[in-house]
């Protein structure tokens, strides 16, 4: 059957259609399902009430992350330490009980493999190219870095997937985001995705699936690609994809849950066939030249509010759209910023290095390179929260923990931490945080908290200078 050229998205979609309905919606098979403690209790409850079982428990993996405090989980004698907040403790306990009852694999908070779902899936090889992968969490888009069609779902859908291993979906449009050129000195994948957010806008990708292409993306590690895919949702897209290539295969080979032996060879052969065909068309195309991208950060309360670190707080009147003008004014009031102020003159009280955007080993290496031999500025609380126990262990083997600790950073246990105010790690009202996470929404890091999204290296630079700083100046000083 001669077929027209297809995009990566179309190929994965087509390979997962169980049934197409007259109205065009499709019953799509779900290959992988990640579960955490916050959005799953009512889904398991629903199964229990209806007397249903989990259709394919072996395709689901559960791990606690959102509620979990990032303080030590066991005492010196190895005894479990209690969780102070009774509601968090209850949700964590429910996950443990539900997974045992329904036969779903579960990684306990005390295991080295525990971490943020979106860090754990790829590093265990649970996430694979060409799969459909869902989780009751919007940043599931992260897994698209490996070429998985991955997106967040609600609690009713979590239940639907548990019971049927499928979802009823309509096909999305596609948007190619092509980044060519070469990245400048001190410019990281986080700066690239912030630049993309600034260009596409927070709602620009609505109804679309992004595919990141171009030489810059091809040259990125899987960690870097995950930083891009992670924030697809901030641009309104439910998923973001990168075509699997040699970098992907090298990353996955030998991971505990990845295929092995003959199955591996067969899998790689199929994965190679997934890349978008030449001549395939997208509904929209956005092109960026990496040469134009500087280390960047956000000034407002939407991820699209991006400026280069050399920039200034914008004037609300500079926005053509009246709605945006009003939103900018509200953002500046909330952020406590005056238009025209140089971003580098803004002092911070908190620095958070972590979250599913930037808590992998490369992120920690980049931050440690800046922190090495320096001290966290007076009046700044800086914390580093590895994305998983395995990342933590790796970082400790490389001595990164000692770099951070001797510079005055806190070195904590894995979890979502200060990315969202759901566990004890919060930014107090009115205080300012340079954060490597993905959302600078009002109250996201705590009621009244002021968030600036930055790369890991930029976060470390903010920690040691006590203000939003251009990491290139610090890197230059050490050369």
């Amino acid at each position: 059957m001669a077929s027209r050229p297809q995009t990566l998205y179309e190929k994965i979609w087509t390979a997962h259609v169980v049934e197409r309905r007259d109205d065009g919606t499709c019953l799509i098979y779900i290959d992988r399902h990640l579960v955490h403690e916050v959005t799953s209790p009512q889904a398991f409850e629903g199964l229990r009430v209806a007397g249903r079982r989990v259709r394919r428990p072996e395709l689901t993996l559960a791990v606690p992350d959102h509620n979990l405090p990032t303080t030590p989980r066991v005492d010196a004698a190895g005894r479990l330490l209690p969780i102070a907040d009774p509601e968090s403790a209850q949700q964590l306990d429910a996950l443990r009980r539900n997974t045992a009852e329904f036969g779903v694999d579960y990684i306990d908070a005390t295991a080295a493999e525990q971490g943020i779902v979106h860090v754990v899936g790829p590093e265990l090889g649970f996430t694979l190219p060409g799969t459909t992968l869902v989780c009751g969490d919007s940043h599931t888009s992260t897994h698209g870095a490996l070429g998985a069609l991955a997106f967040g779902i609600g609690t009713s859908e979590v239940e639907h997937v548990l019971a049927t291993q499928t979802l009823l979906l309509s096909q999305s449009k596609t948007m190619e985001i092509r980044v060519d050129g070469t990245l400048g000195f001190g410019v990281s994948p986080k700066d690239v995705i912030l630049a993309i957010m600034g260009r596409v806008g927070a709602a620009g990708g609505t109804g679309h699936v992004f595919e990141y292409t171009g030489e810059v993306v091809r040259g990125m590690s899987i960690e870097g690609r995950m930083t891009l895919a992670n924030m697809s949702i901030e641009g309104g897209a439910r998923s973001g994809l990168v075509a699997p290539d040699e970098t992907t295969f090298a990353y996955l080979k030998g991971r505990p849950m990845a295929p092995q032996g003959e199955a591996w060879d067969k899998a790689v052969a199929w994965w190679r066939s997934l890349a978008s065909d030449s001549g395939a068309t997208y509904d929209k195309v956005v092109r960026l030249d990496a040469t134009d991208i500087a280390p960047s950060l956000t000034w407002g309360t939407s991820p699209e509010d991006v400026v280069p670190i050399t920039g200034v707080v914008p004037e609300p009147d500079s926005f053509a759209d009246p709605a945006k003008r009003a939103a900018a004014q509200r953002s500046l009031d909330y952020m406590g910023l005056t238009p025209g102020t140089a971003m580098q003159d803004v002092a911070v009280q908190h620095v958070f290095i972590g979250s599913c955007t930037n808590s992998r080993i490369e992120d920690l290496r980049a931050a440690a390179a800046v922190a090495d031999g320096r001290r966290v500025a007076d009046g700044v609380r800086a914390m580093v929260v590895p994305g998983s126990g395995l990342v933590k262990r790796q970082a400790e083997a490389e001595g990164l923990d000692r770099v951070f600790v001797s510079a005055g950073f806190e070195w904590r246990e894995p979890g979502c931490s200060m990315c969202l105010a759901m566990n004890p790690d919060k930014v107090p009202a009115g205080e300012r945080c340079a954060s490597t996470s993905n959302r600078n929404f009002v109250g996201r890091q705590g009621p009244g908290a002021r968030t600036h999204l930055v790369s890991p290296a930029m976060a470390a630079a903010a920690a040691v200078t006590g203000r939003l700083a251009d990491v290139r100046d610090l890197m230059g000083a050490k050369l």
């Binding site: 169980v18 098979y29 409850e45 259709r55 949700q91 045992a100 779903v104 609690t155 019971a163 199955a263």
Partner: protein
């Protein structure tokens, strides 16, 4: 989901307008880990008032609620439908509903019955001392006084309610197609269904706590 072909019995003769989901279930109940038990929090602020309809012994456990315009407006929380279901409500009669609430109601086996304001006024009167019947077969609401009001429902949703098919149930009815698909996956992409062993890592499998 239990099939619903008719709902018959006492009805809360309430008739209040613009009941938002925060009134149905206040926000502080959302931290729960279950969808059962929310009946205790249902209409908490209303029930704090003396003489409210929900604590009137004549209507205790009524399966029908009669309300005013725009029932279920406000936040999209599915907890509102969970709370009503938990208190035993199987049908709500009102002149109009918020879209999100009526979607959530269907998903949880609650029939949202839209009737004109005059019919709702009449039912509030009758329900004070008489039972009400909502019948999905004939698509009518009737009372012992020979009242007979017809209503409409989306045919697909009506079928779901009458056959006890929630969305999950509907998909489960496609078991053959899903199993066939899984068979093909096992053949062409065998690594999907059989994950590699992971004895080396700390994963708690079935049956372990």
């Amino acid at each position: 989901m239990q099939p619903v072909t008719s709902v018959s019995g006492t009805a809360y003769p309430w008739g209040a307008k613009n009941i938002d989901t925060d009134i149905i279930i206040p926000a502080h109940w959302l931290k729960t880990i279950t969808r059962v038990g929310l009946g205790r929090g249902a209409f908490e602020t209303v029930r704090a008032q003396a003489g409210n309809v929900f604590d009137d012994p004549r209507y205790a456990g009524a399966p029908i609620l009669i309300a005013g315009d725009n029932f279920g407006c406000g936040s999209s929380r599915e907890h509102a439908a969970w709370a009503l279901a938990d208190m035993g409500v199987r049908a709500v009669i009102a002149p109009s509903f918020s879209d999100i609430f009526s979607g959530n109601a269907f998903k949880n086996g609650i029939v949202p019955v839209v009737l004109p304001q005059e019919a709702v006024d009449r039912l509030v009167e009758v329900a004070k001392d008489q039972p009400v019947t909502v019948d999905l077969e004939t698509m009518t609401v009737t009372t012992p006084y020979q009242d007979r009001f017809t209503f409409e429902l989306d045919p697909f949703r009506r079928q779901c309610l009458m056959q006890g098919l929630d969305e999950i149930g509907l998909t489960m009815a496609k078991d053959t197609a899903i199993s066939k698909f899984e068979g093909a996956v096992d053949e062409h992409r065998p690594w999907i269904g059989s994950r590699s062993g992971y004895a080396s890592i700390a994963v708690n499998g079935a049956g372990r706590t």
